[in-house]
């Protein structure tokens, strides 16, 4: 036993004992503990195995920079790999498992990698790519993947729920330490809308482990007082357990709140995590500073920790990291830590100070070794002693915990996420935040202000300045008084010479000082190259502790200043964020909205099978008793429409009302066929092109009055056509007096098609809809008997006598019911989009299966619609391009299977080959766009695009389906398979 819980002190609740397990071992901690502090209190120092060499590793830090203590929390689908034990809040029932060890943490087979380390130097991974090549897939890759690693992702479905929220504020304060609290308080009192985000579960930051007093009471009491006042202010929002991970354009910050990560039984009403997008007028970065580890031989032995972390465990958690603590420091902070520990009654044996002439006072009875260095450590799975060297004299000093203190680096990650590079400060011997403008300013230790009173002053001052900028006034308030504080000074010490064993720079990635030398020698000395080559600064911690030393060592090796080496690039996220949190609620049925037709319930009660069609649910077919396959239902529906009558929901089509004295001119320019002289009361098929001459969309245009048109689009392109129209009206022809709006949702629209369509529909209408009164392509507003407003169109997508009837959406179901009732005597049936598709296929009518963005009007056999007489319309000019008029373009044709064998069919996507040609895309003659079974013809038919197709009717062609590895022979024919004389349409 060496780490233990102190008999008193700390901000833990000693009356509230929490049970948890680590690798199955039941342990106890206290409310207010992190998992790391509870593990230390149980003397569980060994927490993981290192990435590459599988070396035993212990807790190093007491915060989010932790490189070693990564554990998997929870089990099964609720497992959370790579959780930092140093920030994980302890709760009763928590289960934690160590990672990257096999078979157990204490005995790990992978540790043999340590013996292979001469072969596993920097870049070894890349070198395995080079030679011998055949070993890569078979040997290196699988072995490396298995050996190297962090926690394992769970493949089960994540049962947690997540959400996102927006927030807006005048001032966002990132970090709730002394500077952040003081800034939030100043701004909050002045009346600004303030958000204070802090990643800890308790506000206070360094105040919680501070040994100095504020206004005569403990610093943590001051933090509690400020937090209480902030909580009482309506204009202040406190977000604890919230990490601000990114800074984005327009001063928007991303943050993740761990709402229920600290409870064993999460409430179903709350998300586990919540992602915040915070739009802030101003932001203050109060993220503090990170203490630097020292790079000396054997510095990764469990028991070697950050000096400040040992202090935090003692002050905040009442836990002693060891029975006998030594400190290795290059500045005054090591002494301050030693004094704090001594005051808590812990035993500090030695301070090894790299400086020759420090004036800092060590606690009574503590030996100070000036100009000293540590060149090795002893112990197997935990520290038992250090080898101290001075002027060639080596001495073994026994200790079971060692605190490293190599000076401080401001945490400026967020400030550098939008392109600003950190600036080397010779004064601070650290990289400082660049000036990134007034939106984001840096305060406190993050700003290189290291005294407590300085942090409070910096926070209050900058917040008051922001208040003034935004038109508020911050009243002067006296700053709290701090007793006897020390300005921490330190000497930069990047590398401790004389190492007798590996001196690690990056603990998480097992990068030691010699790896950086190798990178430099092999031409990867640039800091960005060195990072990739050695992996220093990669993985989950992104080098929070290690980067600065790597830069310092590279600078030393190259004989230049760290300013010249620079840093690697800072990017979101500051710490890892789960994919679940980023997805938020956008999963399962909430991933995309579902759109339902006003006839959805009608279709449902008529037994429809539905199909997803974009966001829509559309009725696909309506099975009846005895029908075993979808084809049986579809064949019946098609034959019934051709023989009697059917009704189909076409409400999903896009519908746009176009108004204005220039509406006709506007539409004339949008469509490639003429629209200017469309008579009132008439509908016309219209084809829209893109600027490049290819077909964009098709639909109908009906003129309801001189200055009022009703336009339909395909279901899929409804939104795109509307945007296109907005663009044309606003950007291309702002002079045209035209207004339009979508009415897609206002109307329930149904097609009534078949020879008996008129007989059925006439029963609902007083108005005469005979061939003479309401001929083909009529369009007008009308009213149903009973007074419902309606619109009636004589248009057909089946080649049959057909009407489309639109009624206000809420009445759709009742009207469709009425049509079914009126049609009962005429054997009416409901038909779905599958039958609709066969009906149009038999007539050679086109959809976006044909209009795939590569098809011109002429390709599609619609060349006569291209009105060359019109002065201009979208797509006209680029249609004259050589490639678009070439004689061998693929043209629309029909295909009929030569062999009437019902087992053989054609599918869309198949390619066409001349008979006898080798199946290869080199011999490609065209492709099938739509295919189906025609119950009228009793055979499989298809629409296809074939080179010079219209000259090739009668030719036999091979339909080659590479996916199914299947070939059939078909005859090329006119794409209108059924009733080419169109007599039924106009009956």
């Amino acid at each position: 036993m060496s780490a233990y819980r102190l008999s008193s002190g700390g901000l833990v609740d000693r009356s509230k004992v929490l049970s948890f397990t680590f690798d199955g071992r039941p342990l106890r901690g206290l409310a207010g503990d992190t998992l790391a502090s509870a593990l230390l209190a149980n003397d569980q120092l060994l927490v993981g195995r290192s990435f590459k060499y599988h070396r035993p590793r212990g807790i190093v830090s007491a915060g989010p920079s932790e490189p070693n203590a990564l554990v998997t929390l929870g089990s099964g689908a609720r497992s959370d790999p790579n959780t930092k034990a140093t920030v994980a809040e302890l709760y009763s029932g928590l289960t934690a498992k160590s990672q990257n060890r096999w078979p157990s943490l204490g005995f790990d087979v992978g540790a043999v990698n340590g013996l292979l380390s001469p072969f596993l130097g920097a870049g070894f991974y890349y070198k395995t790519f080079m030679w011998p090549r055949q070993l890569w897939e078979k040997l290196y890759e699988p072995v490396i993947r298995r050996a190297a690693g962090l926690g394992r992702a769970v493949l089960e479905r994540d049962p947690e729920s997540y959400e996102k929220s927006w927030a807006f504020c005048d001032l966002l304060v990132v970090g709730g330490g002394p500077a952040g609290l003081m800034a939030a308080l100043t701004a909050g009192r002045a009346g600004l809308r303030v958000i204070l985000a802090d990643e800890d579960f308790r506000l206070g930051g360094s105040l919680l482990s501070e040994t100095e007093t504020i206004d005569g009471s403990p610093a943590s009491a001051f933090a509690d007082r400020v937090a209480a006042e902030l909580r009482s202010l309506d204009n202040v929002t406190l977000l604890s357990r919230t990490t601000v991970f990114g800074w984005y354009d327009d001063n928007v910050f991303g943050a993740v709140e761990r709402v229920q990560k600290h409870v064993a039984e999460p409430s179903a009403k709350l998300p586990t995590e919540r992602v915040w997008r915070i739009a802030a007028k101003r932001a203050l970065l109060a993220t503090g500073a990170e203490e630097r580890p020292l790079v000396f031989g054997g510095n990764d032995r469990p028991g070697v920790m950050m000096g400040g972390a040992i202090g935090t465990y003692a002050e905040r958690y009442g836990v002693s990291a060891g029975k006998s603590v030594a400190i290795f420091t290059s500045g005054s902070s090591g002494y301050r830590t030693a004094r704090g520990l001594a005051a808590r009654g812990m035993s500090v044996s030695t301070i090894v100070d790299s400086r020759p002439d420090a004036v800092d006072a060590a606690p009574d009875g503590v030996r100070v070794v000036r100009s000293g260095s540590i060149i090795d450590t002893k112990g197997s799975k935990r520290l038992s002693g250090i080898v101290v060297e001075r002027s060639g004299y080596e001495e073994l000093i026994a200790c079971d915990a060692l605190g490293m203190s190599g000076g401080w680096s401001p945490v400026i990650h967020l400030a550098c996420q939008r392109g600003g590079r950190p600036v080397w400060s010779e004064d601070l011997k650290a990289f400082a935040a660049p000036d990134v403008g007034g939106g984001l300013r840096v305060i406190g230790a993050a700003n290189g202000v290291y005294t407590l009173s300085g942090c409070l002053r910096d926070g209050a001052g900058k917040a008051a300045a922001i208040a003034e900028e935004l038109g508020f006034h911050a009243a002067e308030a006296p700053l709290p008084v701090i007793d006897a504080e020390v300005e921490p000074s330190f000497a930069a010490l990047w590398y401790v010479p004389g190492a007798k064993s590996k001196a690690f720079v990056d603990f998480q990635n097992d990068v030691h000082a010699k790896d950086l030398g190798l990178a430099l020698r092999e031409g990867f000395g640039h800091v960005e190259h060195a990072k990739r080559y050695t992996t220093s600064g990669m993985a989950t911690d992104q080098g929070k502790l290690s980067n600065i030393n790597a830069v310092g060592i590279l600078a030393g090796m190259r004989g230049v200043s760290p300013a010249e080496v620079g840093t690697t690039t800072f990017r979101p996220f500051y710490t890892p964020v789960s994919f679940g949190a980023l997805a938020g609620t956008s999963r399962d049925t909430h991933a995309t909205p579902t759109r339902k037709s006003p006839l959805h319930e009608w279709a449902k009660k008529n037994g429809a099978t539905f199909v997803d069609s974009g966001l829509w649910f559309r009725s696909a077919w309506f099975p009846r008793g005895g029908e075993k396959t979808w084809r049986e239902s579809v064949d019946r529906e098609v034959l019934n429409v051709r023989a009697n009558v059917g009704i189909c929901d076409v409400s999903t089509l896009g519908k746009i009302e176009v108004f204005g004295v220039d509406a006709a001119e506007f539409l004339n320019r949008l469509y490639c066929n003429p629209m200017l002289k469309l008579p009132v009361g008439k509908a016309r098929y219209g084809l829209m092109l893109r600027e490049d001459g290819f077909v964009f969309d098709d639909g109908t245009v009906s003129r309801l009055a001189d200055d009022h048109f009703f336009v339909t689009t395909t279901t899929a392109m409804a939104g795109a056509v509307m945007s296109h129209m907005e663009y044309c009206a606003q950007a291309l022809w702002p002079d045209l007096k035209v207004r339009f709006c979508s009415v897609s949702d206002q109307w329930a629209q149904m097609a009534i098609a078949g020879p008996k369509a008129r007989d059925v529909l006439q029963q609902l209408l007083d108005e005469d809809i005979s061939e003479t009164a309401f001929p083909f392509l009529s369009a007008r507003a009308t009213a149903l008997r009973g007074g419902i407003n309606a619109r009636l169109f004589r248009i057909s997508f089946s080649g049959e006598l057909a009407f489309e009837l639109a009624v206000p959406a809420g009445y759709g179901e009742a009207v469709a019911d009425q049509i079914m009732e009126a049609g009962r005597a005429h054997d009416i049936c409901a038909y779905g989009v599958e039958a609709l598709n066969v009906l149009r296929l038999e007539k050679g009518l086109l959809t976006h299966a044909e209009f795939d963005g590569r098809v011109t009007p002429d390709d599609a056999g619609l060349g006569r619609m291209f009105s060359a007489q019109k002065p201009d319309f979208i797509g006209k000019h680029l249609s004259a391009r050589y490639g678009l008029t070439a004689a061998d373009r693929m043209q629309l044709v029909g295909l009929k299977l030569v062999d009437k064998d019902k087992e053989k069919d054609m599918r869309a996507g198949a390619h066409l080959l001349k008979e006898g040609m080798k199946p290869s895309t080199l011999n490609d003659q065209g492709w099938v766009s739509s295919a189906g079974y025609s119950p009228v013809l009793g055979q499989h038919i298809a629409l296809a695009f074939l080179k010079s197709g219209r000259e090739r009717y009668g030719e036999k062609i091979v339909v080659w389906d590479r996916l199914r590895d299947h070939e059939v022979t078909a005859e090329v024919c006119d794409p209108v398979f059924v009733g080419s004389e169109n007599t039924k349409l106009k009956a």
């Binding site: 959400e163 909430h590 909205p593 759109r595 319930e601 108004f659 207004r739 709006c741 009415v743 109307w747």
Partner: protein, 184 residues
């Protein structure tokens, strides 16, 4: 054949049944109201807005330059069209949307917090004042949002999206035990 046709509300499947008592945060849906799109002729935006906003019982929601949704709880859809034609028929185009739009009213102390889970505009009264309206996205769905009271917001959504929006709002409000019902 002459008959009365029933008008089925888009949220009928979601809200049918005996009403439950409303909680503090409540989503209320009217069985009916009349809604129309008004599109001002070029250059007449201000005149149309004046004519509409000075008329009692009409509530105006901004959709874009010269474009509004007009809501009436006293007119029938046909009646509203007639009234709007008289008010501004020569200055604007008027389109009935009563069946094409669904109006949902969210009220309660947590209304802003609930909406902030889907809507990326600042809903603080200082930024989005009582009476203000705008087109926004709520999650993936386009809505027109109006601050219609101190803690009351009205969302107007296209009918085909109404069920999805309803489900989203109920999920966003689960933390506050949001309730929902048709208006009495």
């Amino acid at each position: 054949m002459v008959r009365d046709y029933n008008n089925r509300h888009a949220l009928d499947q979601k809200l049918r049944g005996t009403p439950k008592p409303a909680n503090a945060d409540h989503l209320e849906v009217s069985h009916w109201q009349a809604i129309a799109t008004v599109l001002a002729h070029a250059g007449l935006d201000a005149a149309v807005e004046r004519a509409l906003s000075s008329t009692p019982d009409l509530s105006l929601r901004y959709c874009g330059p010269g474009e509004w949704l007009v809501v009436s709880h006293v007119d029938t859809p046909v009646g509203l069209m007639r009234r709007l034609d008289m008010l501004c028929g020569t200055q604007a185009h008027v389109v009935d949307q009563s069946d094409g739009r669904v109006l949902l009213r969210l009220s309660g102390p947590s209304a802003r917090t609930i909406l902030a889970k889907g809507i990326g505009v600042d809903l603080h009264p200082a930024a989005f004042a009582h009476g203000g309206s705008t087109n926004v996205l709520c999650g993936h769905i386009a809505v027109n949002l109006m601050a219609s009271g101190a803690d009351v917001f009205e969302l107007i959504v296209a009918r085909s999206f109404a069920e999805s929006l309803f489900d989203d709002l109920m999920a966003m409000g689960r933390q506050f035990d949001i309730s929902s019902a048709f208006s009495e």
